[in-house]
């Protein structure tokens, strides 16, 4: 049914996916593969539905067409209980961190453990401290989420995402709005967690350089289509003008600087009309 | 945690005070307490007209509530109103020649049965009958009589 056969070690494979919001076609028949144990990045300008893709993979949204297979299971054909079981093996890092604001950092990290395991509190404590140590914030355990900086909140959210030792973590714009130091910390964390824990990572981002630094494979999306794919090196040397503009950040190119409008001179000279 | 335990205490206090509020409404405000209270015995009185008397209207003697009306029906032969009253058993010394009248509390208040004890040595028992009764005063009738009388006097 598709030109590409899913390879043996792909943990997530997206096949012929279409999804639209109103009249706006967000994905138009795209197919992607995410290799086990690798960091795969999805890049593209804002508004190309990168977050939507993560929600589709997590089963929070339903596609119009096509299928998403995660670890051999078709996400959208699962019954509720099965989907919830699958989600226990997925970690997701939201752009805002999505920490529960009425709980301390400690309780946030303990939350999935308390909800899903019958472990005694002493063991939960050990696990929580281990996860917090991994992100370097063991000392911040008694703070409330509103006392954290954006970068710290994301690191706590990361500790929470790995609390149940998932097989895969989905990162939604992990680098947006970070100062260089927290950015460096996050890049280092994502890479090392992936290697040490043997995770599979999917990063959605429009931050070209930092993502390219840790990704093993990159898909570039635009207008609902895949406009480029390959290893970071291949992407850098892509012949596609579009990909080049995106990677270098040129102001004009295939993506125009100007929003579509009628001729500038005509517009200025047509007096008498209000707009 | 200190914080949680004070919260729990406050929730406990809240629930307890809510329950106290409900109990207060049930026992102190409503007539629930008079339901569970004491046994009663029934006596009957016949009135020419029982006016606005209702089931549960109070029965009192010398201003003290001693029971309540338990049923009101029309005697199909004599066309009198038959009023049954439940009197608390602790007031079991009502003389046989007690008279019953229907009064109104205040000008527009509720109607109630007032018992005036007589002088007999025999007491009313369960199922006893009060022979001497005075009907409810019907306001329209009273006004009509008054006007009629004063017109008569003027002649």
């Amino acid at each position: 049914m598709d030109n590409k056969v899913p390879s043996q070690d792909s943990l997530v494979s997206v096949r012929n996916l279409s999804f639209s919001r109103g009249d706006n076609k967000i994905f138009d028949d795209i197919s992607l593969d995410f290799q086990r144990g690798k960091v795969t990045a999805i890049m593209g300008p804002s508004g190309t539905g990168k977050t939507t893709l993560l929600k589709l993979i997590g089963g929070q949204l339903f596609p119009e067409q096509g299928s998403i297979i995660v670890d051999g299971q078709n996400v959208h054909k699962l019954r509720r209980a099965e989907l919830y079981n699958l989600r226990k093996r997925l970690g997701m890092l939201f752009q805002s961190g999505a920490l529960l604001t009425d709980m301390s950092v400690y309780d946030n990290v303990a939350f999935p453990l308390r909800e899903h395991s019958q472990l005694p509190e002493s063991m939960i404590r050990t696990l929580v401290l281990m996860k917090l140590q991994a992100v370097g914030l063991r000392g911040a355990r008694n703070l409330m989420p509103n006392e954290l900086s954006g970068g710290m909140a994301r690191r706590i959210a990361l500790a929470r995402a790995i609390a149940l030792d998932p097989m895969m973590i989905l990162y939604d714009e992990p680098f947006t709005g970070q100062d260089p130091i927290s950015m460096g910390v996050l890049v280092h964390l994502i890479k090392s967690l992936n290697n040490i824990l043997g995770l599979t990572s999917i990063i959605v981002s429009h931050d070209v350089h930092d993502t390219a630094a840790i990704a093993d494979y990159i898909y570039v999306l635009s207008g609902g289509k895949i406009v480029g794919q390959g290893t970071p090196k291949e992407i850098q040397h892509s012949e596609s003008e579009w990909v080049q503009q995106f990677m270098t950040g040129a102001a004009d190119g295939p993506v125009h600087f100007h929003y579509p409008a009628k001729d500038y001179v005509d517009d200025l000279l047509s007096t008498g009309k209000r707009y | 945690m200190q914080h949680t335990s004070t919260q729990d205490t406050l929730v406990g206090l809240f629930v307890a005070s809510g329950v106290v509020g409900l109990l207060f409404l049930a026992m102190q405000v409503s007539n629930l307490s008079s339901f569970v209270e004491e046994d009663t015995y029934t006596i009957t009185a016949r009135f020419e007209n029982s006016g606005g008397l209702k089931i549960k209207s109070p029965v009192s003697a010398a201003g003290v509530k001693i029971g309540k009306v338990s049923s009101i029906s029309l005697d199909p032969k004599t066309y009198e109103s038959v009023v049954q009253m439940s009197i608390y058993s602790k007031y079991d010394t009502l003389p046989e020649d007690t008279t019953a009248s229907i009064y109104t509390a205040g000008l527009l208040g509720e109607q109630y049965v007032n018992l005036d004890p007589g002088g007999s040595d025999e007491y009313l028992k369960m199922g006893g009958k009060i022979e001497i009764t005075q009907s409810a005063i019907i306001l329209e009738k009273a006004i009509g009589q008054f006007l009629f009388k004063s017109a008569e006097e003027k002649k």
Partner: protein, 260 residues
Amino acid sequence: MIRFLQHLGKNTRTSFTKLGRGTFFLLQAISGVPSVLPRPRLLLNQMYSVGVLSFLIITISGLFVGMVLGLQGFYTLSDFGAEESLGVMVAASLVRELGPVVSALLFAGRAGSALTAEIGLMKATEQLSGMEMMAVDPIKRIITPRFLAGLISMPLLAALFSAVGIIGGQIVGSGLLGVDEGAYWSQMQAGIDFHDDIINGVIKSIVFGFVASWIALFEGYDAIPTSEGVSRATTRTVVNSAFSILGLDFILTTLMFGDH
């Protein structure tokens, strides 16, 4: 004209779909009850924010409403020489109507709006979504405990409101205006029926608690996840709760006290 009909049709359709979503939401919330009961801590925390935090406004308002009723009732009744009936008048107005209705309106304003804002903000900051991705059902974990807390707190708050109000009426009536204290209570006990008045009042407050919590939680859950969307949802909660409470009060009063 056609445009008006179109508009009307569209509005009808959107309100019906919203009602449908609301009903589905309610059923989900109720289906979560068995999973909340073994974890009383979830419920206790919500009883605090829904019940305890409404306690002060309810009791203080109840006291003042009762005192005003005592004052107004006394002036009206004394025209007819029936001041002795002040107790029954104050108690009947509170237990049947003002207790359940006013405390429900205050509850919608205090606890309901806070619930909507809380849930709406949780949605806007992706906390609900995040919970779903952690395989925790946000309806069972977040909505159901709050719903139960509202359902339990409302009758208690309404009873407190009435009780405090009756005491307030007594303070004014017999403390300031000289109605005999014994008459105040005995007339009340003679006039207020446990089943007809107290139980019906409690039923009313349970219904209002149900509706007010449902509206507040659903508006929060259904809010557009932006700061503007949440603030609009909060306003809608207060307005819709007030309408529903007053409308239902009329219907319930007709059913309960109609045959007297």
